[in-house]
Symmetry: C3
Subunit: 310 residues, 3 copies
């Protein structure tokens, strides 16, 4: 495949053909991710997982992906304990990591950190979330979950629910959905819509976007309901938060009248946005989505790192 | 062996036959734990070490056990840095870990957390300490140390010294000693005796238990002196603490008149309960006990995780 | 080689012949450190990285070295989360680690901790920095960088710039330079000169040392400019700090008139001591130095740990 040595900073670094190829690659990785099949495709490869912001789920899924393929990791799991505390620039830290490892997985609180790192590094950099900006591998695994459950991406009707302003996972996802001609329905609190720049980009791509503040109406003929966290700290006062959070909570009554094949996704962790009673319904796809993080990241790492002849 | 795929939440999940078989298995693991013999029995296996409460010793001994057998680890070493901080339920966290890994080793500050995790996980869960409740693998390695040094468990006279109320290691151990017909002598500050529920369980098992507040007298014809930490925060005032801690400190004079083969155990870390002058005597078995954590956990992991034909 | 099973607490634990042999060994490790060549020389070996003080760079380079050679690691990355917090003595912690692993890499805030650990451990201990005392593996990689760039150590003129009092890396390095007959020029703020004891040792070794407070003059016919961090907290008032830090900052004008082959070294992280404009000049050797940490530590670990017949 064509990704050998490439940086993945934004989903736009990938063509739609490359994305589809990655999704197929990920499906083949599933038995390895489940531990039922052995692989040594990353044997001898060392990946630096540099998490300058805590993200247990993302970090562990990358470390799992590397190790299930026979590779090794070095890990920075806490910004507070690093040489950055001693005043080191990100660029110096990345140069160090790129001289130790074969690829860098970077999580960073600042928007644009991943691009800066990719410029400083002579090894591939994979953006695992930079501020409120991008989280391309999350978007890939979201796509994989949809593709596995529904067999296609084109023509899907996807409701994006919750905080669309600060939730970086939906930013990367929206671009991907636009690339594949899916239809987006935005259901968000007034103050938490898409950032203007993103909205402009999506319009320029010819994305099919509508708005429907009423959740039940939005869900009615949707194929996917993508739920995000609504973060307390985004609101001026507690009362406003409670009201908003309450009106965007998904429970059994929300899904009355939905398509039987509707799947509910959530990047997790959740904190009340989805009632656990949904867990037992066939709509619940978020645990599958959590698992698919591993084969998706396997496919990406394998494509970027495997030897040419491999 | 019969443990394939089993959860180990409490020592009572194991029969006495299974425990004896594990002790024999652990003895065979010693040369591997010492690095003198290679093993690949966990090759291709990934174990999640989820420590939601710090415990360097327990975490490192599990990671050592996994890696000496050729397996790999993913690790959560600090509760404060996890998605639980973002409000995620333990059950959601465990479902995620169980979809990444082949088994979960869980340390958690809340009693009952391990049982809850075992219910949420479709992979085996090993309790590495849940609150003041249970710590079954510690009890197993305590038994192993006694069995290796004294050749038997039945009929041993074991003094349990110190904090028997909050010290979870002695809770699991007491049950194990009752299973094997050992005799227990309790030497504890008045306010720090066994919890009533445990005492009831032990009585129902027909455990041989006596009390002897005088340490020297208790030690006189004992085979094992098991020392626990007396934690300052359990006492109302400093003066009471000093008095109690002082009267339960083990030094050379404490062991005058003890059997030559008496062994002193301590789950470590110690903080003054045992005078370092004991380290140089043949009674000191606590460093051996610390080492035996590795082969004991190897045997357990191997028994739970190895392939059927292996 | 002769280092099998040896502790490396101070650079003085090594003869100059052994150091030269290590430098040659490190050069052969370079293709393995770069990931271009496979090695399994530490397969089956487990190294404990015990960092009781954060040092991302040193920790990751050791973990990289171990893993690139096929070995495994167990890691303590934060003092605050360890059993030492529960009052355990360093000696007890080290005895535990030495019963789990095949070697211990120790970073500790207290001077003398590494020697104490070596006494408590029956496995080799490598000092990765103990307080303001010694950091022998840093000195080795400094020597390696000079040797690779300049082909020799004897007769080099090395300017040591900055904080020579608290900067432990220059302490170990100065001893090494004295061993190999290099000439040292000290360029430091008045209050931050070599500790008296070290100066005495160097004089006893017959070291060639001069002082030149003017940086440009010092650099004029130097082969190496070794820059250290000047730490704010060493100064009484902010004004004094700014003045000193400013006068020891290396930029293009500092190097006017320097030898074309002069190399600039820095143990990193840097925080303003070297202007990034130097990065693009042939003088900048600090990123190469950062990388050479890996092959240097590989050679050391390999020499200490590999099987006799290996």
């Amino acid at each position: 495949m064509a990704l050998r040595g490439r940086d993945i900073v934004s989903l736009r670094d990938l063509s739609s053909e490359e994305i589809l190829e990655l999704l197929e690659g990920a499906k083949k990785m599933i038995p390895i991710a489940e531990g039922r099949k052995a692989s040594a495709s990353l044997e001898g490869r060392l990946v630096a997982a540099a998490f300058f912001e805590p993200s247990t789920r993302t970090r562990l899924s990358f470390e799992t992906a590397v190790q299930r393929l026979g590779g090794r990791c070095i890990t920075i799991a806490d910004a507070g304990l690093t040489s950055m505390r001693k005043g080191e620039s990100l660029s110096d830290t990345i140069r160090m990591l790129s001289s130790y490892s074969d690829a860098i997985v970077l999580r960073h609180p600042s928007e644009g950190a991943a691009r800066l790192a990719a410029d400083a590094s002579d090894k591939p950099v994979i953006n695992a979330g930079d501020g409120a900006n991008q989280h391309p591998t999350q978007a890939l695994l979201d796509l994989l979950t949809m593709h596995e459950a529904l067999g296609t991406l084109a023509g899907l009707k996807v409701v994006l629910l919750g905080d669309l302003r600060y939730g970086r996972t939906v930013h990367s996802l929206a671009i991907a959905l636009a690339m594949f001609g899916a239809e987006m329905v935005l259901t968000n609190p007034k103050s938490l819509g898409f950032p203007e720049e993103l909205r402009g980009d999506l319009d320029a791509m010819g994305a099919k976007i509508s708005e429907e503040p009423d959740l039940r109406r939005a869900v009615r003929d949707a194929d996917v309901l993508y739920v995000t966290r609504i973060q307390k700290e985004r609101f001026g006062d507690e009362g406003e938060y409670r009201q908003v959070a309450g009106s965007y909570r998904v429970d059994a009554s929300t899904l009355e009248g939905a398509k039987p094949r509707l799947i509910v996704l959530h990047p997790l962790p959740r904190a009340g946005e989805i009632d656990p009673e949904i867990d037992r319904t066939p709509h619940a796809a978020y645990f599958r989505q959590a698992f698919l993080a591993v084969p998706m990241r396997m496919a990406l790492l394998d494509s970027i790192l495997r030897a040419r002849g491999g």
